[in-house]
């Protein structure tokens, strides 16, 4: 997939911008706080109508505006030339695909993959499990409508069960009723996480080898709260935990407590990895995500590299670019122009939400 035009309106600090892209390499250069990341955020919004920076739609709107819009024309491996428009309102959003309104997110997901490389990705290694779960859910749901449906069912049923736990009293029969709704959704989530993380993990291990010259092996290890994708076993576990859950007023076991570990040479990168190892692990994870999207959907994702070039030493930078699928479109940002050795880019100067293409060098 390749973006040919990208239009933003009232999106964060961008009042209006219409950008035309000719090739597969675009670079946005400017000082901090000018709107470079906002542009990548808008491009990333196409994938699942979700921002990689915030869960709050309202923060995407320009000050004093009620609607923001992102529109693009893209070349698509399956759909040919396609127009996608997303309007973001304060509490809702509208998706349009070739002038047709999309009413079900499940029908839209997986068609327009993008992968973000951001300096905040280090949190995937260092941060709390919730961040890794969010990445996992967004990644798997982006390619798989059934995963999204299971996730929505699970989340809703869990909220109902937790509401019962907060109320307390003699609610065992009601708890069981919601556990029976949770169980099939949980089985679906666990099974799909096992297989998804297996493929992505294999890709990550291979990518890490390339980035680091194969000196040490890296691995992605699923750390489920409960590993058996079996309804009866899960039901027994929730039933056994009711007294504790009632005392603590929330559900303390289930796939909403899952995690995964990123390991280098068998040790957790979170605790034992050097800064460089952690950065390489995250890059390898994102590259594997891109490869997995491509394998699942048959569409090459657009890569959105938010100021990651600047953070790598020249050796790693070269290997990173050598690892990337050369057919993929890359939108990259930075405070300085990329090295000449990284090939030719279409350059855009970014200042106060305004984008000026630079005459090709």
């Amino acid at each position: 997939m390749r973006l040919r035009t990208l239009t933003l309106r009232h999106f964060r600090n961008v009042a209006f911008a219409r950008l035309d892209f000719v090739g597969r390499r675009q670079f946005f250069v400017g000082q901090n706080g000018q709107g470079k990341t906002n542009l990548l955020e808008a491009a990333g919004y196409l994938t699942a109508a979700r921002s990689f920076r915030t869960a709050e739609s309202a923060t995407l709107l320009m000050h004093d505006q009620t609607t923001a819009a992102v529109a693009c024309t893209l070349e698509h491996a399956r759909l040919g030339e396609t127009q996608v428009t997303i309007k973001v309102h304060r509490h809702s959003k509208e998706l349009w695909c070739d002038q047709t309104r999309v009413t079900r997110l499940a029908d839209y997901l997986g068609k327009f993959p993008t992968v973000v490389f951001s300096s905040q990705d280090l949190q995937l290694v260092r941060g709390a499990p919730a961040g890794r779960r969010r990445w996992l859910d967004l990644t798997l749901a982006a390619m798989d409508g059934s995963y999204l449906q299971a996730l929505q069912t699970y989340t809703r049923a869990l909220a109902e069960r937790n509401a019962l736990l907060k109320k307390g009293g003699a609610v065992a029969a009601q708890l069981e009723a919601f556990e029976r709704v949770l169980a099939p959704a949980a089985v679906e989530l666990i099974a799909r996480r096992i297989s998804g993380l297996q493929s992505i993990g294999a890709g990550m291990a291979a990518g890490y080898q390339k980035l680091c010259d194969g000196t040490e092996p890296a691995a992605l290890v699923y750390a489920p709260d409960f590993a058996q994708p079996d309804q009866e076993a899960l039901l027994a576990r929730w039933a056994a935990g009711r007294a504790r859950d009632l005392a603590l007023r929330s559900t303390h076991t289930g796939p909403h407590r899952d995690d995964f570990a990123l390991k280098v040479s068998g040790q957790e990168a979170k605790d034992f990895g050097s800064e460089g190892q952690q950065r390489s692990v995250v890059l390898a994870l994102r590259l594997a995500q891109a490869a997995w999207f491509h394998a699942k959907s048959g569409v090459r994702p657009v890569l959105l590299a938010d100021d990651v070039l600047g953070e790598l030493d020249p050796g790693r930078r070269r290997k990173f670019w050598a690892t990337i699928d050369p057919e993929s479109q890359v939108l990259a940002t930075g405070t300085a122009l990329p090295d000449a050795e990284l090939g030719t880019w279409e350059i855009f100067r970014v200042k106060e939400g305004d984008f000026q293409p630079e005459a090709s060098a």
Binding site: R104, S146, Q149, R156, V171, A177, V181
Partner: protein
């Protein structure tokens, strides 16, 4: 506008499906354009409020102790179709496809919204089951999280001694509809709910 008019408009606006403009239109219509309708409407409201209540057996709307369906001797009382709300019952009746009886729960379990078993019309259903007159329970609740949980709850609460057959209505393709235009979630439940064909 006058204070009395505004108060009327406020009251109308709180009715389901009515916004500010519709409320204003209805109020003007009743007071200015067709005042003759007003007396008829008020007396119809009063009469209905006096006489319409819940059927003791099934929870449907009734005048008197039981509703028209429960009073009808030709309806099969051994089959009970459990629905969430009265409009669901009306829709099923309109289909003309069902000759059994009903039970209206007036909601579904949703702890988030403060709805528990005590808020649902369950005691009357228990009484019907205990009386041993029910052979089949058709669960026609919506297939969202709360509807499914309510189905599980009802099934768990069945008296164990009796052999009551419990069925769930099918979910899938609309009649006359092709596979092509169905969304992925509907197709999935249509495939899950397939049955042998011969």
């Amino acid at each position: 506008m006058t204070p009395a008019f505004e108060k009327l408009q406020q009251q109308l606006k709180q009715l389901p499906g009515l916004g500010y403009r519709s409320a204003e239109r209805i109020a003007l219509h009743l007071l200015v354009e067709k005042p003759a309708q007003l007396t008829a409407l008020v007396s119809a409201l009063e009469a209905a409020a006096r006489s319409v209540r819940r059927c003791e057996r099934c929870g449907n709307l009734a005048e008197g102790d039981v509703c028209g369906i429960c009073a009808d001797e030709r309806r099969d009382r051994s089959v009970v179709c459990v629905v969430e709300h009265v409009p669901d019952l009306v829709a099923l009746e309109r289909s003309g496809a069902y000759r059994g009886s009903y039970h209206v729960l007036h909601g579904k379990l949703s702890p988030i919204h403060g709805v528990g078993p005590d808020q649902l019309n369950l005691a009357a259903l228990q009484a019907r089951l205990a009386a041993g007159e029910v052979a089949e329970l058709i669960l026609a609740l919506s297939n969202d999280v709360e509807g499914e949980a309510t189905c599980h709850y009802l099934t768990e609460q069945l008296p164990p001694a009796q052999a009551v057959k419990v069925t769930r209505i099918g979910f899938g393709l609309p009649s006359g509809g092709g596979v092509l235009y169905a969304d992925s979630v509907t197709l999935k439940s249509a495939l899950d709910g397939r049955r042998s064909y011969s």
